[in-house]
Amino acid sequence: MHPGYSSILIVDNAEFIRMIARLRLEGAGVPPKNIHEAENGQVAYDLVVAQGIKNILCDYEMAVMDGIELATKLLIIEQRQDIRFVLFSGTPLAKITAALAGTGLNIPVIPKTRLRENWSAADFISAWFPELTSTLSRQ
């Protein structure tokens, strides 16, 4: 499996949100060095290109290149079907679903409030980033 699958990129303009997501992922056994952060879609794009990261947990609304723009650039324009892309957001899902309609994007959207819940991060990873789980199990 490509080494990029053992890494995950958290994209959010709020450091607080990135920190919580990182803590959850670390708690599930993802090594800290395999967790990358970006404060907007443009920084995220540069990291994906430079580091070959294939798992992306991305905020929907950001001032510089939002989640849908980043997903469109990677998955539609560049046809990077090897990338696992999950949007997370505090925006009502119906609004995001409407924004996704017509983009050609088929990506999961999960509410950001899930970050505050006492869910099992391991279950979360296996559900949304299965490739990351399989690389973890070999480490």
């Binding site: 303009n13 709020a14 450091e15 607080f16 949100i17 920190m19 919580i20 803590l23 609304e61 001032a63 505090g90 925006t91 899902l93 119906a94 679903t97 088929n106 999961p108 959207v109 999960i110 509410p111 950001k112 409030t113 899930r114 970050l115 505050r116 819940e117 006492n118 869910w119 099992s120 279950d123 979360f124 296996s126 559900a127 949304w128």
Partner: protein, 266 residues
């Protein structure tokens, strides 16, 4: 907040049949159920669902799309309810239909419905209503009722349970205030200049962070300001802005007081 059911090992054995013809939707639903440790058995048509049930009825719930090819969800549900060995399994309609249509589904025999918007919380609520060990399992799922707000604008105990210890919570709280201070400053500048787009973006960001930090009051007044801006309610804007600033300041006082032992040592 995790459901008591989610903490029960017995729940790991919960099997849910998902009947949905769109493969992508099936994948999403199965992934959402997997987050709770529930096992999804999928069928892409009513016929396939009935075939599975003919050999295996060991399901706690059936999630049924309505607009299926071949026999539709309504008819599939009827045929399931005709089978004595299956009729005890609650069948929940997955629907994006109007309230009137939902009533029709319930009248036709569905045990409940869930919005077909893949919101995990709504789905879990709809399912857990029927998984509840006590009480009537054949009633319409009711909307989740939020517990009364605590006197303090922070569910501190819930945060501690989620993040484990005060040191960690302190780090998170500091990051929260670093972010929200920046947002408040940006919001203040936008309020002065009248930049509606930035005001709305800041309110949205504040509300989202506050919700995750369980700061209900800050989330509520941020929403109030956002609503006033959207509605052009000039009288309400100034008042709501002051409420946001006050709620943020009050929250900071509560948090620093509660975390006083660790706040100054990090």
């Amino acid at each position: 907040m995790v459901s008591p059911l989610a903490e029960n090992d017995a729940q790991k054995a919960v099997r849910i049949m998902v009947v949905e013809d769109v493969a992508f939707n099936l994948e999403i639903l199965a992934a959402i159920l997997a987050e709770r440790g529930w096992q999804a058995v999928t069928a892409t048509s009513g016929e396939a669902a009935l075939e599975i049930l003919a050999a295996d009825c060991d399901f706690q719930i059936i999630l049924m799309d309505i607009g299926l090819p071949g026999i539709d969800g309504l008819e599939t549900m009827r045929r399931i309810k005709e089978k004595p060995v299956c009729r005890g399994i609650p069948v929940i309609a997955l629907t994006a239909e109007s309230a009137a249509e939902r009533k029709r589904f319930l009248a036709a025999g569905f045990d409940g419905y869930a919005e077909k918007n893949f919101d995990p919380e709504q789905l879990f609520t709809a399912i857990e209503t029927h998984l509840a060990p006590a009480g009537d399992t054949r009633h319409t799922p009711e909307p989740a009722v939020m517990p009364p707000s605590p006197l303090l604008d922070l569910d501190f105990e819930a945060l501690l349970v989620t993040y484990g210890d005060e040191m960690l919570l302190c780090r998170i709280a500091k990051a929260f205030f670093a972010d929200t201070n920046t947002e408040l400053q940006r919001l203040g500048e936008a309020m002065t200049s009248g930049d509606r787009t930035v005001i709305l973006a800041c309110c949205h960001s504040l509300r989202g962070s506050a919700a995750i930090f369980t700061a209900k009051k800050l989330a509520r007044v941020s929403k109030e300001l956002e609503d006033c801006i959207r509605q052009g309610n000039k009288n309400g804007i100034e008042s709501a802005w002051h409420k946001v600033v006050a709620a943020h300041e009050s929250l900071r006082e509560i948090v620093t007081r509660r975390l006083s032992m660790t706040w100054n040592t990090q």
